[in-house]
């Protein structure tokens, strides 16, 4: 049984959104909902301005708040270390979305099922990489089997072990996805208790650290 893990080497990220779009096509994710999302943050004063990116996936928490919250016991963590939702047991009540500290779960409005990143399990079964890993032009997303010392993730961990960190350690969810080169304040852009806010894509949010945004007047959407 492989033990899958992922790390994101942020200096290589180009903010290109390919991971996020590849994921939406791969997993038929409805507009307005996200398994994977890329945040932007502009810091500094002109002309000393820099842009930072933060791609976010499901952290495959070892002590997953979503798993604990589900009244239907639809969420489990496999021996391959992937946290999965059982579509047949899920009843769409969204307790998992409310519990997740990383905005990683949404309830599909048409299917009435919770959904989240499962490292593209169906692709792994077919001997392929997760969709985001395959397409990433920066080689930002490092993935593989921890049991295999030659896998990209094992090698990356061996080289960079001391530089790796996780998002929001204070949530004590024991995330299995790690980051290299994380600027702490960007964590604040990642919402807690709701799926990623689509409006946090908008350009006006690039210089703020907020996680969600009010819908302007006139909305009849929700």
């Amino acid at each position: 049984m492989p033990r899958y893990a992922m790390a994101l080497d942020l200096e290589r990220c180009t903010g290109c959104h390919a991971c996020s779009v590849a994921c939406k096509v791969e997993n038929q994710v409805p507009l307005g909902n996200f398994r994977t999302k890329v945040y932007y943050y502009d810091e500094g004063r002109f002309p000393q301005t820099r842009r930072l990116f933060l791609p976010v996936v499901c952290m495959q928490c070892a002590d997953a708040p979503c798993l604990r919250a589900c009244p239907n016991k639809a969420i489990s963590r496999g021996n391959d270390l992937i946290v999965r939702i059982d579509q047949n047991a899920c009843r769409g009540n969204g307790a998992c979305e409310d519990a997740c500290p990383y905005g990683a779960i949404y309830v599909d409005p048409q299917r009435n099922l919770a959904d989240k990143c499962d490292f593209c399990s169906h692709r792994l079964e077919a001997g392929m990489e997760p969709a985001c890993v395959e397409t990433c032009p920066g080689g930002t997303i490092i993935f593989g089997d921890l049991n295999d010392p030659k896998s990209p993730i094992s090698q990356f961990q061996a080289t960079h072990r001391r530089e790796l960190t996780v998002l929001k350690p204070e949530e004590k969810a024991d995330p299995q996805v790690q980051y290299r080169g994380l600027t702490r304040e960007l964590e604040r852009k990642v919402p807690k208790g709701r799926n990623h806010d689509p409006r946090s894509y908008e350009i006006e949010t690039w210089a703020t650290l907020e996680a969600s945004f009010d819908r302007p007047e006139g909305g009849s959407h929700e």
Partner: protein
């Protein structure tokens, strides 16, 4: 009466169907009204339904899916792709691991393209205009009627002795082989394009200086110092991710530094080791000052400069003398200290360093010389075609010797017209036919050229052209100026709206074609685009339209179209290709998607390669210059190399066979249009920017990493990321003007001055735009992105949530409805979303740069007022 009301009027009389939704059931002879408002009433998003059993999703089945190679066309980068097709449905696109440029990697656009072939708003049948042009009423006709109608009108032009009254006007088509053949066969030279709106100056600068290619392949993986003048390759460079992935390796695996000059904090600038924001159009001044420092310091590749350039160190040093860092600081705002420091850091790494450009540097009045000055830095570094340097392969095009045109090949016509070869810009067509596309509508209006039949293909001139919604639309509407307009398109676009005949096109996922660009592995290569799925309903690749029309134009034209279809034509072009592991060359291309000769050495030192015996056979050498020349296949004497130290070498493909710092070609072209130019890459001040009053600013535009001009907005996953484009204003400037993010401002633009089109400096137009205040832009510059502000193109593009506007008989068997568009589309303005953004091109003036004709996109002077 509004269009909708009109439609209802006619509908009561039973003659008219309304909306894209009705297309599927439109019978031949029936009429339909198409309009931009492609969404009806808006149901609310369904609320959460706890404790209700859901509808499981079936994951993609990759064990069952068929893999087909092809090539992306969601931008100009030419990435090899693999399509996964399951049960006749395209489920996913990935990169083609065999492609030398991108391998398995694709950008967001490449990933998102999957949705375009099933976009519910697609055109499905040929439509003929009824009523006024631009009214939006259409009758479905058969392809036979369409072909016959087109053929009759083209034939009439030929018979009248005016084949040049037939024009094809394209955006990025990648069908040049068949379009060229069609026009040559009928005798028209009028193949219009968009190169002058895109990359003309950059290409011209490479041609004038190096001669071999128009597009360099910087060897970034092995480079130590990259000096980037206005390329945003993290997001939108031509060849973007091919270059990007190598830069990332160079930077993070090899310690390469990246320094970017850009007026705006693009993703590239925002991730560079240093970002400098020069005043727009002063990139050339900075480059010359860098060169000045390097030459004054005396640390440069003296050997390359002496042997391989067409100037002496003394002459160069005299030319550079006035261009000091202090002089450049006054113009650009970049400090002399920084310029000296960067010059020295750059040259310290020679030859593993490269200076390169794109639109930020060249889309200016003076952009041609800006780019020539930047390329010069590579000569000083001796990095031309060296590992880690400024490299190029033998060709950046489909190699004709491997993919020859099927015989008989029609000869190019000898006539010229002002439309495709305007004499005011003598360098536009000097090296390749780059044209000056942005003056086409003006010249038609001025009657400097006449047209009878105007084909448009992948051309979004109303939205992507300067003065698009004003001049382009005015001329497109005018039946006298454009008597017959045939538009091939995928969706009911703004261009299609002003057509007489709409031909439903196959998307890039459904058609054939050969493609190539610069190969960063520096070898010969080409790719094959093949259908991943068949086009739906009656959609037909425009290449096949031309073949079908060609077959109907009588024997002297039809003999050039003696193949079944475009697939057949492409197969014939592959007939000489080595068959490798497949039955023949075509089968090889279909299996691998790419031809890449990995046994060929990389093209390092290409100019130093000795000429072969066969090449030298029958040649002669000019005793004065050492230039070796020979008659080519057409019997014309042509330079093929140069003698250096008694060796016959290939050299550069310039008139001197050397790297041309100074260019006689440029001096002569300038003289022809009475412009004073001594052929050196001088800094040319932009006339409209001189003595700019405090209350005037420069309006610039830019691209996003998720959009390509007008054509990606129908792709929902891209438009979900970017659908809105407020105007960037520097924070300090905004404070001074009392503007905050979200305020509406009125921006007014002015025409250019100097040697360009309509150089009056007069007001051109005003637009109201929302402001976005940021630390990421030069204080004197405002920026509005292109690619947005669509009124047409369906619900995703126009930001309208709701059911597809329905007529009777919506047929889900052809293109089924999409819950994302009916229900989930969250940026719909009616729901309080941001909407579809602004189209800024409407108020940008046509401004071709002198001598070359490149649109000076980033020079527009403007003023601003808070409203």
């Amino acid at each position: 009466m509004s269009k909708q009301l009109q439609a209802l009027e006619v509908n009561r009389r039973g003659a008219l169907k309304v909306g894209i939704g009705a297309l599927a059931s439109l019978a031949v002879g029936e009429t339909i009204l198409l309009h931009p408002g492609e969404a009806a009433a808006q149901p609310a998003r369904p609320p959460r339904r706890p404790n209700v059993r859901g509808t499981p999703k079936v994951p993609h089945n990759y064990k069952r899916a068929r893999k087909i190679t092809s090539v992306c066309l969601n931008c100009s980068t030419v990435c090899g792709i693999v399509g996964y097709v399951d049960n006749g449905k395209l489920i996913k696109i990935g990169g083609n691991p065999e492609d030398p440029n991108n391998g398995k990697m694709l950008c967001a656009k490449g990933q998102a393209g999957v949705v375009i072939s099933t976009y519910p708003e697609r055109l499905l049948y040929p439509l003929k205009r009824v009523g006024r042009r631009g009214q939006g009423t259409w009758r479905r006709i058969t392809w036979e009627e369409a072909y016959a109608d087109i053929a009759k009108r083209v034939r009439a032009c030929i018979d009248a002795g005016h084949p040049e009254h037939v024009a094809i006007h394209i955006g990025r088509s990648r069908l040049a082989d068949i379009m060229g053949r069609f026009l040559n066969a009928i005798g028209s030279p009028v193949l219009l394009n968009h190169r002058a709106l895109c990359s003309l100056n950059k290409r011209a600068a490479n041609y004038a200086t190096i001669g071999d290619v128009d597009w360099e392949s910087v060897d970034a993986e092995r480079c130590k110092y990259l000096l980037n003048f206005g390329s945003n390759f993290y997001e939108a460079h031509q060849g973007a991710i091919h270059f990007l992935k190598r830069v990332i390796k160079g930077r993070y695996d090899n310690g390469c530094k990246l320094v970017t000059f850009d007026v705006r904090l693009s993703n590239t600038a925002g991730r560079s080791d240093e970002w400098h924001a020069p005043f727009p159009g002063t990139e050339g001044a900075v480059a010359l000052a860098l060169a000045n420092t390097i030459v004054a310091d005396g640390n440069f590749d003296r050997d390359f400069m002496t042997t391989w350039t067409n100037t002496t160190v003394d002459a160069l040093s005299a030319f550079l003398k006035p261009y000091t860092p202090e002089w450049a600081e006054k113009l650009s705002g970049i400090s002399a200290g920084d310029i000296r420091r960067i010059a020295r850091a750059f040259i310290r790494e020679r030859p593993r360093c490269a200076a390169f450009t794109n639109r930020g540097s060249h889309a200016h009045y003076n952009g041609f010389n800006n780019d020539r000055a930047v390329i010069l830095l590579n000569a000083l570094a001796g990095s031309i075609n060296q590992p880690g340097g400024y490299c190029y392969a033998e060709s950046a095009e489909i190699p004709d010797h491997l993919f020859p045109m099927p015989a008989p090949v029609p000869a190019a016509p000898k006539i010229r017209t002002d439309l495709e070869d305007p004499p005011e810009w003598p360098l536009a067509n000097r090296w390749q036919k780059m044209r000056v596309g942005q003056i086409v509508y003006a010249y038609l209006k001025q009657k400097r050229a006449r047209l009878q039949v105007y084909f448009t293909y992948t051309l979004a001139s109303p939205t992507t052209w300067p003065e698009g919604r004003s001049l382009a639309v005015e001329v497109l509407r005018d039946e006298k100026l454009i008597p017959f307009h045939v538009c091939s398109d995928v969706v009911y676009s703004e261009t299609a709206h002003y057509a007489d005949l709409i031909l439903p096109d196959a998307t890039y996922l459904e058609r054939w074609g050969l493609d190539a660009r610069n190969n960063y592995e520096l070898r010969t290569y080409a790719t094959l685009r093949q259908p991943l799925v068949p086009p739906p309903a009656e959609c037909v690749n425009f290449a096949d339209v031309l073949i079908q029309v060609g077959k109907r134009l009588g024997p002297e034209v039809s003999r050039y179209f003696d193949f079944r279809n475009y697939e057949d034509f492409v197969r014939l072009r592959c007939r000489q290709l080595p068959k490798g592991d497949s039955a023949d060359g075509f089968a090889y291309m279909k299996r691998h998607g790419v031809y890449h000769n990995t046994s060929e050495p990389r093209s390092y030192d290409l100019f130093k390669r000795p000429l072969t015996k066969a090449q030298l056979d029958g040649s002669r050498t000019d005793p004065q210059t050492g230039i070796i020349s020979k008659r080519n296949a057409r019997g014309v004497e042509e330079a093929i190399g140069i003698t250096m130290n008694a060796q016959a070498l290939r050299g550069f493909k310039t008139p001197s066979r050397k790297f041309e710092v100074h260019s006689q070609t440029v001096a002569q072209a300038a003289a022809r249009v009475k412009i004073d130019d001594d052929g050196w890459p001088h800094y040319v001040p932009i006339p409209a920017h001189q003595n700019l009053p405090e209350d005037r600013f420069i309006l610039t535009t830019f691209k996003w990493n998720v959009h390509t001009q007008g054509r990606t907005a129908p792709q929902k996953y891209l438009t979900e990321i970017v659908h809105d484009n407020p105007m960037w204003i520097n924070a300090a400037t905004a404070r001074r003007l009392g503007i905050r993010t979200g305020d509406t401002v009125e921006v007014t633009t002015y025409r250019p001055r100097g040697r360009t089109f309509d150089p009056t400096g007069q007001r051109i137009g005003s637009a109201r735009i929302r402001a976005f205040v940021t630390e990421g832009i030069h204080p004197r510059v405002f920026a509005v992105s292109n690619s947005l502000g669509h009124l047409f193109g369906g619900r995703s593009a126009a930001a309208r949530r709701g059911p597809r506007a329905e007529g009777p008989g919506f047929d889900p068997k052809i293109l089924s409805e999409d819950a994302d568009l009916t229900t989930n589309l969250w940026w719909s303005q009616a729901d309080g979303g941001k909407g579809a953004g602004f189209n800024v091109n409407a108020i940008l003036p046509i401004q071709p740069a002198p001598i070359t004709g490149m649109q000076a996109w980033f020079d527009t002077v403007c003023s601003i007022r808070k409203v």
